[in-house]
Symmetry: C2
Subunit: 218 residues, 2 copies
Amino acid sequence: MANIGNAIPEKTIERLSEYRRTLLSCHKQGITHIFSHVLAGIHGITAVQVRRDLMLIGFSSDTKKGYDVKVLIDFISNILDSPQPMNVAVLGMGHLGQAITKYFNGKGLKLRITAAFDVDPAKVGQTIDGIPCYHMDRFEEIAEDLDISLVIVSSPTKVAPSLVLPIINAGIRGVLNFTSTPLNFPQGIVVENYDITTLLEKVAYFVKESEENERGSE
Amino acid sequence: MANIGNAIPEKTIERLSEYRRTLLSCHKQGITHIFSHVLAGIHGITAVQVRRDLMLIGFSSDTKKGYDVKVLIDFISNILDSPQPMNVAVLGMGHLGQAITKYFNGKGLKLRITAAFDVDPAKVGQTIDGIPCYHMDRFEEIAEDLDISLVIVSSPTKVAPSLVLPIINAGIRGVLNFTSTPLNFPQGIVVENYDITTLLEKVAYFVKESEENERGSE
DNA sequence: GGGTGTGAAGCCGTTCACAGCA
DNA sequence: TGCTGTGAACGGCTTCACACCC
């Protein structure tokens, strides 16, 4: 039995997260209402897309002044956030791990980075950006103690495969993998692989494409 | 007039980049042939998907021993890579910028990070991981000199909007943006926005979803 | 007029089902 | 038998077109 009228498409979820960040920034600037086409413009999409997304989550505005920023923030948050905060661990506290940690610090999100893991003796035992760094050997034990449910894999690509088993054993539910190895987990664990190289190669390909088209049509 | 039988879907391009990385690793290990279902397994997708992707780029194998790894690498490279290497600049040499630079260093790709830009006096004028770091004020000038065509935006989110104009003026063709502000560019400039927060929030949402479904079906 | 909400159409990407081949 | 290649069906997401409402 499904909980509510759920089944919100993945793309919509991504955009909701983006809308919310924009809305929070509007809210901070004192903007109280926003039109769909303005929100769309900021994100480089169409107004229909915005309205459709809001329709899918059952949001509707009663006014003609656009959407109430504060109300919409709360509505989206109600969709995206868990009732209780989720704890996140960063696996690999190199530059990427530290960059991610800094991103999240003080953002006041429902997702909290509460632990980091590494094997470098210079980092283990330290507190980096306010996050304690433990040795990877102790991952399963500490993940359980701290009730970690999500991990970000920012280790060197070479060691990433060796993290799969500990992650499974620790009962982790979601993985965000930034290494160049696709990681496979059994059903029930949510995984997103984002290889930076692939992202850049994609951009490069479409640049190449558009240049070829320009040349072709002149 | 279109160049070749192009129009390869975006998703396929992403996967081709991923396949290639896997294939390169296979090649290094001395594996000469690979079945579609093996390649699929590594990437957590179906064999049909792999075959369909290869069909779309016009690749076909003549043997029954699976695909020839070396030949396929060259074929994919011919699709993805530009004839001449593309130069990439990193805007923002904080942790994220340095992480990205390290990723690319010595990967021997057709994409080369050839310059970094920052405003921190401690970084400007230095060489970091073999990449010279210039002051952002000199971006337009140096981008032209070094024939930069792609940029990676890894600056703090707050300054990201101020980079848009210099990027346009410098004639940059592709942008990979890792900040939390969506950046909009005029038609003709390829942009990919990848906000790490959004990626994590998406994983968190689907974890929440799957937990609710489990609870619902017990 | 200028905004929102939405059924219906259209497009894109994935999967099915099966033919063909060694 | 076990693999590859592919037309056709399917499903998810986006866009069109238009009704409705200050």
